[in-house]
């Protein structure tokens, strides 16, 4: 038995669909989700006799970018193998994949807390067709095959068994998706991300259970949480096996007991010649590699003097990071960071939207934050404007003017409002003088109402205190 350092051992095999325009070995356009079934295929992806695969170089470029981002060692040659097994979703009953020599080996990816997870291999392969069970997975007496997906380019990322908990697995997926987004090699709306997870716990003597085909990264955590709990509770009953995950029922279930490793009878696919991955090619790719989250964090800390935590949160989302950089050119970076990571994220979360789904861009943020920076509007007013901007963008400056939302900066005007408020609330003044500090809030609130939030509470507070002491 191996000696593991954690009680839970998790390894992931993640399949990511690359966002190329065409399929991996033919010139078919990749289908969209609502395309008519079997409308995006040709003799090659249908596996018709006599057809021959021709490699899509763009897919290799995308995969190489990923290998570089994951610090993998890159194979000097790209070689494809045939993985043979009979299944109705396989157009040729073998899948063109990579075996002996994967494209990338021995890489790593850092989790939020700094723990590094080893990447055993990254390889390229083709997607099978999709199977549709008209009456449900178990109940249907027949399946329909849609070859639109057949031949789509996938990368498989295999981690070392170094994830110590379902939470770490989820974080790994999150970090991986961040990398994919930065590289622009994965389409989060159309693309598919799937994982097989190997799970074992100390209680069962680390018996290895594989959960197949979990779609979506939130599902991965849910499946793992369930499976870890199951293995701990039924430790003596755990068997080496392959299980499935039902997202509807929230349970894993046994698919097959596995006594031996499956034998796919791999041979080299000699329809495809070995392609040399030259240093020149890698250099060219390095040149066009975008900055990654880790580079951004470093830059935000060094150049913009952000706190590490703020830098990490902003860098984790590519869109947010890019917006931050543009905003920080015109606005104090600390102020910009505060507004982006707190307020913008809050408003987005509240409206259950992602940044790429809303129209608001850096120009709107700069317009808004300029007014905040110059104390033309209060934070309070700015927050409310931001909420409206997320719904539908508009010219902030004009809007403020039109609605008369400029902050009251004239002290005498503010003093007048305060005096009025004090006169209108004798009881609150009395209570405050009796020692009820909270009573002051009532008077401040009253002033805020009178000014429609255009005054800063701090300033109002000071003026009132000056008057009633």
């Amino acid at each position: 038995m191996k000696h593991f350092t954690t009680d839970i051992i998790i390894g992931l095999e993640v399949h990511v669909e690359l966002s190329t325009k065409t399929k991996l070995f033919c010139s078919c356009q990749k289908a969209k989700k609502d395309d008519i079934p079997n409308s995006k295929c040709c003799p090659i992806c249908l596996g018709m006799p006599g057809s021959k695969p021709v490699l899509n170089k763009k897919a290799v470029e995308f995969a190489l970018k990923l290998c570089l981002a994951l610090d993998c060692g890159i194979s000097p040659e790209l070689i494809f193998s045939r993985k043979s097994y009979f299944y109705p979703d396989m157009s040729k009953n073998y899948q063109i994949s990579q075996y002996e020599v994967p494209l990338g080996k021995r890489g790593k990816l850092m989790l939020k807390g700094g723990k590094e997870i080893g990447i055993a291999r990254v390889h390229i392969e083709e997607d099978p067709a999709s199977l549709i069970h008209p009456a449900g997975l178990k109940e249907s007496t027949y399946v329909l095959v849609d070859y639109n997906r057949s031949g789509n380019p996938l990368v498989e990322i295999v981690t070392e068994p170094e994830l110590g908990s379902p939470e770490e697995a989820r974080d790994f997926m999150k970090q991986l998706i961040t990398v994919l987004n930065y590289l622009d090699v994965f389409d989060i709306n159309e693309g598919i991300i799937k994982a097989d997870a190997n799970v074992s716990v100390k209680e069962s003597g680390y018996k290895r259970v594989e959960i197949k085909n979990i779609t979506g990264f939130k599902e991965i955590e849910m499946a793992l949480l369930y499976e870890v709990k199951r293995q701990k509770e039924e430790a003596h009953k755990v068997e080496q096996e392959t299980r499935g995950w039902s997202s509807e029922k929230g349970v894993t279930f046994s698919l097959r007991k596995k006594e031996t490793e499956e034998d796919y009878g791999y041979i080299i696919d000699t329809d495809l010649t070995a392609i040399e991955i030259t240093d020149k090619w890698i250099k060219e790719i390095k040149k066009i590699m975008p900055e990654l989250a880790r580079d951004k964090v470093k830059k935000f800390i060094e150049k913009h003097k952000l706190k590490k935590e703020d830098a990490e949160i902003i860098a984790a989302e590519k869109g947010l990071a890019e917006m931050f950089e543009k905003v920080a050119e015109e606005i104090n970076p600390i102020l910009a960071a505060k507004w982006l990571r707190r307020e913008l994220v809050r408003v987005l979360n509240y409206s259950k939207k992602e940044l790429h789904e809303v129209e608001i861009d850096e120009k709107h943020m700069i317009g808004l934050l300029k007014l905040v920076e110059n104390k033309k509007i209060t934070d309070n007013v700015a927050s409310k404007i931001l909420e409206k901007l997320v719904e539908k963008p508009f010219d902030v400056k004009e809007y403020v003017k039109k609605e008369g939302l400029e902050a009251v900066s004239d002290v005498s005007e503010l003093e007048r409002y305060c005096k009025e408020a004090i006169e209108e609330s004798p009881k609150a003044v009395e209570d405050y003088k009796k020692g009820e500090a909270k009573a002051l809030n009532f008077i401040v609130g009253s002033v805020m109402k009178k000014t429609k939030g255009k005054a800063t509470p701090k300033e109002v507070n000071e003026i009132i205190l000056r008057f009633i002491r």
Partner: protein
């Protein structure tokens, strides 16, 4: 129609309207039917396609289309081995599992032939997927030797070679994985040229063994073979293994002097196991080369002769077993009643529709690539293959070509073949498998007759030296 005019003459007569291409093609198809009745060279005669092509040519000629005069194969009948896809024409590769299958696209070589005005007359008989030496492992008819119908015309491109002998103004497209062009060419007394691996695109060829399959011409004369090579060779971006090298004019090598060329006689290919009549005639051919000024010397090539068969069968069967996996009765070809699970269904389809030899090779190939065996069989074979290539390469530093018999026996009787065990059967390929494994171009040159049966000499050259083979092959007159 059996008038012995050269193809060049024939083509110019078509161009000058001395021969009516439609009338001629119509008669030709009738003759094909007649030949087929007696010898069984076709799986399909593509009458409709041939006539529509002929009619189109006639229209173009009438309209005095300028380009038509440059067509290299205008009006020439071209047959294709059944494993080569012709759009809309039943293409079975000799297998029941593909019965009724009509491809959606033309193979690269078919496109090229059509572009040059060649008329596709049909699909020729072969061993199922190319698995055989005598064209007897077919789900359909067995082609007969043009010189003796009780004997085999060789395989697996048997129909192609037999038809080349029997039909005038015709060139056949054959295919070789382990000797399937030169063996039948030898048994039928015609010229069969198997090119360098990658010289002719495999796009549209139904796979047997991807790393060894090669398409090449079979013709009654060396000129015919060279002409078809000019049409079908060249780079194809739709076949990743297609070589991107300069096109050559193979016809220019015909009858070019061979004075001073060095030819190596493969020592191990003569003597025991080779029939006397075969050996005698091949030596006659070699003598003729010497008379033409070539220098001849013996060379030992132990590795290819000793390990060729084993290496070939390991690689070919391993690759074939994956290539044949796609035939499961789902989208094309044979199907069975839909019942039971997917595993039960495809097992039934494959059990009922693959022939015995196909099943033997699937089992052999699957075994050779299974974990625990692949190191000892599949991977070792790949290593031996590299060693074989190295040994040949060394020889070609000294020699322009190597020579051996194409087959060590005269065309055998069907009744004798039936007595052979599978292994005895496989050993017949000993001369031809090694250049195939090494991807080297090789040519069958008819060198004479014994008992009214043809004998062929095998010439092997270095990669991409097809020109030299044509040059040397055209120096031999005896077998004509």
């Amino acid at each position: 129609m059996t008038d012995e005019t050269t193809l060049k003459d024939f083509i110019s007569k078509i161009k000058n309207n001395e021969i009516d291409v439609v009338e001629y093609t119509y008669k030709l198809i009738e003759e094909c039917k007649k030949i087929n009745k007696e010898y069984g060279y076709f799986n399909t005669i593509s009458e409709e396609l041939a006539l529509s092509q002929a009619k189109e040519i006639k229209i173009q000629l009438k309209q005095k289309n300028k380009e038509i005069k440059n067509k290299k194969l205008l009006g020439v009948a071209v047959s294709a081995k059944d494993s080569i896809c012709v759009k809309g024409v039943e293409t079975t590769a000799g297998s029941k599992i593909l019965q009724g299958y009509k491809p959606l696209f033309d193979a690269f070589v078919i496109q090229k032939v059509k572009e040059e005005g060649g008329i596709i007359i049909g699909k020729t008989a072969q061993d199922e997927f190319g698995f055989g030496t005598f064209s007897m492992n077919s789900a359909f008819g067995i082609p007969k030797n043009p010189f003796d119908s009780e004997r085999s015309c060789g395989g697996s491109s048997g129909g192609a070679a037999g038809l080349s002998r029997k039909l005038g103004n015709h060139i056949a497209i054959g295919e070789s994985t382990g000797g399937s062009i030169t063996t039948p060419a030898s048994f039928c007394g015609v010229y069969g040229l198997c090119p360098t691996y990658g010289r002719v695109s495999r796009n549209g060829l139904i796979d047997f063994s991807n790393s060894m399959d090669k398409i090449g011409p079979i013709g009654k004369t060396i000129e015919d073979a060279a002409l078809l090579m000019n049409v079908i060779s060249g780079h194809d971006k739709n076949d990743s293994t297609s070589l991107n090298v300069k096109n050559e004019d193979y016809e220019s090598y015909v009858k070019k002097s061979i004075k001073g060329m060095k030819i190596g006689i493969i020592k191990e290919a003569f003597g025991s196991g080779v029939e006397m009549e075969v050996e005698k005639n091949v030596y006659n051919g070699i003598e003729e080369l010497e008379e033409e000024g070539a220098k001849v010397e013996e060379i030992s090539l132990e590795l290819p002769i000793k390990y060729g068969i084993a290496t070939y069968y390991m690689i070919a069967a391993s690759e074939a077993s994956t290539n044949l996996a796609k035939y499961c009765g789902m989208r094309y070809g044979a199907s069975e009643k839909l019942e039971g699970s997917f595993n039960e269904y495809f097992t039934k389809v494959r059990s009922n529709n693959f022939g015995e030899e196909a099943k033997r090779r699937i089992i052999l190939g699957t075994f050779a690539r299974m974990a625990g065996y692949r190191d000892a069989f599949y991977l070792k074979a790949a290593k031996v293959r590299t060693l074989m290539i190295n040994e040949y390469k060394k020889a070609f530093k000294k020699f322009d070509a190597l020579v051996s018999p194409a087959v060590s026996i005269l065309p055998p009787k069907f009744s004798d073949i039936e007595k052979l065990t599978p292994l005895q059967h496989y050993i017949i390929d000993v001369m031809t498998v090694s250049p195939n494994v090494a991807g080297l171009p090789h040519l069958n040159v008819p060198v004479g007759f014994e008992k009214n049966l043809p004998i062929g000499m095998l010439l092997i050259a270095d990669h991409l030296q097809e020109g030299k083979l044509i040059q040397i092959g055209s120096a031999v007159e005896k077998g004509k």
